[in-house]
């Protein structure tokens, strides 16, 4: 039997109160910080998870920025190709009109030629569309224009502009200008120039109708490809939105406290502490001296 003295009782009481208070301080810290893992040693494995999840969250934020940037590129390309389609359709109409050799005076043909020149300039302007200073049809070239005055394409084959939208997934956000519009003497701009010249010279242009139709088909095909890229980007965006919510849920599960549980524990602990104080106060009080005269 261990002997009990006032000192051992006081020391035990003090130790128990200290332990109780420490436990309460820890619960309060958890409750106020809302974090289950305050230092890595609270849960080493959980810490590794939290670091990985937080890293994925920051990567997801970056993907979101990349997608926003890619969206800008693709919208610019989309608009430019839409406008190009309209322009080429107008050109087709003018060319068909100009092919009516017998019915048209030379003046009328000249007027059509001027109109087609204007359409060519408008088309060139669309082909030289830029987003944030970059030509969207010139790939990773940093030339100011995708097509020079001689219709030479300034881009490089295979050097496309890509945006990373998820781990290991990239989406192309530009269009190959050469595929859409051709280049140099075989470009659609040279074709339009040729039609205008033929009209002015009185050369029949009926043979050009198929060429214009061919160029229009080329632009429409490029537009369809861009549409597919756009869909891919949008799908990546919606996947990312879901992933962001999932990641936050995962992080919260790994790192955050169960508030209801902590508050309950805190209440229980506070009751325990008060009880301990109460008992200590009662136990330490009396000694034989209280009863001796």
């Amino acid at each position: 039997m261990q002997r009990v003295t006032n000192q051992t009782m006081a020391a035990n009481a003090q130790r128990n109160l200290q332990a109780s208070l420490q436990q309460m301080a820890r619960l309060q810290e958890q409750g106020s910080s809302q974090k289950r893992i305050l230092t890595p040693s609270d849960d080493p494995r959980g810490t590794a998870d939290v670091i990985a999840i937080r890293s994925q969250q920051r990567a997801a934020d970056q993907y979101e920025r990349n997608i926003g940037n890619g969206e800008g590129w693709l919208t610019t390309v989309d608009t430019a190709l839409g406008n190009a389609t309209d322009i080429l359709q107008s050109t087709l109409q003018r060319t068909v009109q100009g092919a009516n050799d017998g019915a048209l005076s030379q003046e009328a043909k000249n007027a059509l030629a001027t109109e087609i020149d204007g359409l060519r300039d408008a088309l060139l302007k669309e082909a030289n569309s830029t987003y944030l200073g970059r030509s969207v049809f010139a790939g990773s070239s940093n030339e100011g224009k995708a097509f020079a005055a001689d219709y030479a394409w300034t881009g490089t084959d295979g050097a496309s502009v890509e945006r990373k939208v998820a781990d290991g997934v990239t989406v192309r956000v530009d269009a190959n200008g050469k595929d859409a519009f051709g280049e140099g003497a075989t470009s659609v701009f040279a074709l339009l120039g040729g039609i205008a010249a033929d009209l002015r010279a009185g050369t029949p242009v009926s043979g050009r109708i198929d060429q214009v139709q061919g160029a229009l088909d080329g632009v429409i095909a490029a537009h369809a490809t861009v549409g597919a890229q756009h869909t891919q980007l949008q799908r990546a965006e919606s996947v990312l939105a879901t992933a962001t919510v999932d990641l936050e849920a995962q992080r919260s599960k790994a790192e955050d406290i169960d508030l209801a549980k902590v508050i309950l524990d805190l209440n229980v602990q506070s009751t325990v502490y008060q009880a301990a104080l109460n008992v200590t106060a009662r136990v330490l009080q009396p000694s034989l001296m209280d009863f001796l005269r």
């Binding site: 006032n6 020391a11 035990n12 040693s41 990985a52 890293s55 970059r134 034989l288």
Partner: protein, 468 residues
């Protein structure tokens, strides 16, 4: 048996009761003195002395005060010392681990992992807009923040090493002065014992110092002659009777020299012999070990150096292969200051977009493939950021183990102290009972005295008066 021996018997009773009261008083007033061990008067009855003039049965001659016993228990004292030694060792380690752990700043937005992610993100923004000033400026700032954070982590490890080194010096001074005090008390105890004076209070003081030395160095106690004790550390005497030896802390004063000149303790009188201790000194020495010997602080610093070196080499390898929008190739992104540790010497080379290699020249000046490649270096298995998160996990596990050990040792130490206090501490109720007991004994002895007195009075003053 003399006629007056009854008076003397009563007198010895009075003396014994008074001494008992004195000792109770001493116990009560010292009840809260740290290390005080309760005392008891030891009494023995004095047997009858026969002489040739008296025959027949005779009563004893009273009570004798043999001495004042100190109610300590050597076994419990030993247990207190050995658990204190284990606790001292575990506690300094746990404290240091906790400090290093808080300098990791993980998990959270201030940790290195967040800096790695921000750095990778900045590279992607540069990949999206090669050659643009704004993302390049962000990247350069993020790179500097990353290098700065690695340097901060390293410096915190170095600072912790210096703190522990300073603690060791302070501890050695404390040990030496405590050992000298123990030797001095030993001398006083020897003298007191020889003179027959009670040395209980001196023994209390000395045992308290011995317990402190056990916590500091793991010194074990060997009983010596004349009530003295020897304190033994690593097989040699720190205190031998009235003589004490000194310890010195030898080795590099800062972490950079720790690998070549390891820190250890030596006897001041025997330079060159390593003293291996347990207790706090052992804990501190183990913390100061070089990384090769498993010192956690040096290892932490080495980890920061390794991170800096790997970061620079992996980024530079891709960066040098790429070209800037201006066409320059073979550029480094990170460089090291010569002569400084990798972690603190890491610097960022480019100052503007013109110095950042973003792509492959063949793909056009605005190619961002190299920048995207560098961004992809992070977060993959085997990458520098993964190294960091692995290190955090490993360190956290060791830190947790250190804390658990310290908690266990603390429980053992406090249990041993509790057991010691249970035997040695003063119980007020018990002392009050003793107080009553000795008080009653005093009153009763006084009554005996007056009874004998009255009997003698009858004999001396009232006999031979018949018929008067």
């Amino acid at each position: 048996m003399s006629t007056f021996s009854g008076l003397n018997t009563a007198y010895t009773g009075l003396t014994a009761a008074r001494r008992g009261l004195d000792v109770v008083g001493q116990n009560i007033v010292n009840a809260n003195v740290d290390g005080y061990t309760r005392q008891r008067v030891t009494l023995s009855s004095v047997p009858a002395v026969g002489n040739r003039f008296s025959t027949g049965a005779a009563s004893g001659e009273g009570v004798n005060v043999d001495g004042i016993a100190r109610l300590g228990n050597i076994m419990l004292d030993n247990q207190v010392r050995s658990t204190a030694s284990a606790y001292g060792f575990a506690n300094v380690r746990a404290t240091s681990f906790a400090k290093l752990e808080s300098s990791l700043r993980e998990p959270g937005d201030e940790g290195l992992s967040a800096r790695f992610d921000a750095f990778a993100g900045a590279w992607q923004d540069v990949a999206n807009q090669p050659g643009e000033a704004a993302p390049a400026a962000v990247l350069i700032n993020e790179a500097k923040a990353l290098a700065g954070q690695i340097a901060t982590g390293y410096n915190e490890a170095v600072g912790e090493w210096s703190r522990v080194r300073g603690d060791l010096d302070g501890l050695v001074a404390e040990v030496n002065s405590a050992a000298a005090s123990v030797a001095e008390l030993n001398a006083q105890i020897r003298k007191g014992t020889a003179q027959g004076v009670s040395v209980n209070e001196l023994v209390d003081q000395r045992d308290r110092l011995a317990a402190g030395l056990a916590e500091l160095t793991g010194a074990s106690v060997r009983s010596g002659e004349d009530g003295m004790i020897d304190l033994v550390v690593d097989g040699n005497a720190l205190v031998a009777g009235a003589k004490s030896s000194g310890l010195v802390a030898v080795g590099a004063p800062s972490m950079t020299g720790a690998a070549s000149a390891g820190v250890h303790l030596e006897w001041a009188a025997l330079p060159g012999t390593i003293v291996s201790t347990s207790g706090e000194a052992g804990g501190l020495v183990s913390l100061l070990a070089s990384a090769a010997d498993g010192g956690p602080i040096a290892k932490a610093a080495e980890q920061y150096n390794a991170l800096a070196a790997k970061l620079a080499s992996s980024v530079n390898e891709l960066h040098a292969a790429g070209s800037t929008t201006g066409g320059a190739t073979g550029l480094d992104f990170f460089a090291f200051t010569a002569g400084a540790p990798a972690a603190t010497g890491l610097t960022v080379v480019p100052t503007s977009a013109a110095g950042i290699a973003t792509g492959v020249a063949a793909n056009g000046a605005a190619d961002g493939s190299v920048a995207a490649g560098i961004a992809g270096l992070f977060g993959q298995p085997g990458s520098v950021s993964k190294d960091w998160s692995d290190y955090v996990t490993t360190f956290a596990a060791s830190s947790k183990a250190a804390t658990t050990t310290a908690k266990g040792a603390e429980t053992a130490a406090s249990n041993a102290l509790g057991a010691q206090a249970a035997g040695a501490s003063v119980d007020m109720d018990e002392e009050n009972v003793n107080l009553l007991m000795y008080q009653q004994a005093y009153q009763a002895s006084a009554r005996v005295l007056s009874a004998v007195d009255e009997a003698l009075d009858t004999l001396i003053n009232r006999t031979g008066l018949v018929g008067r």
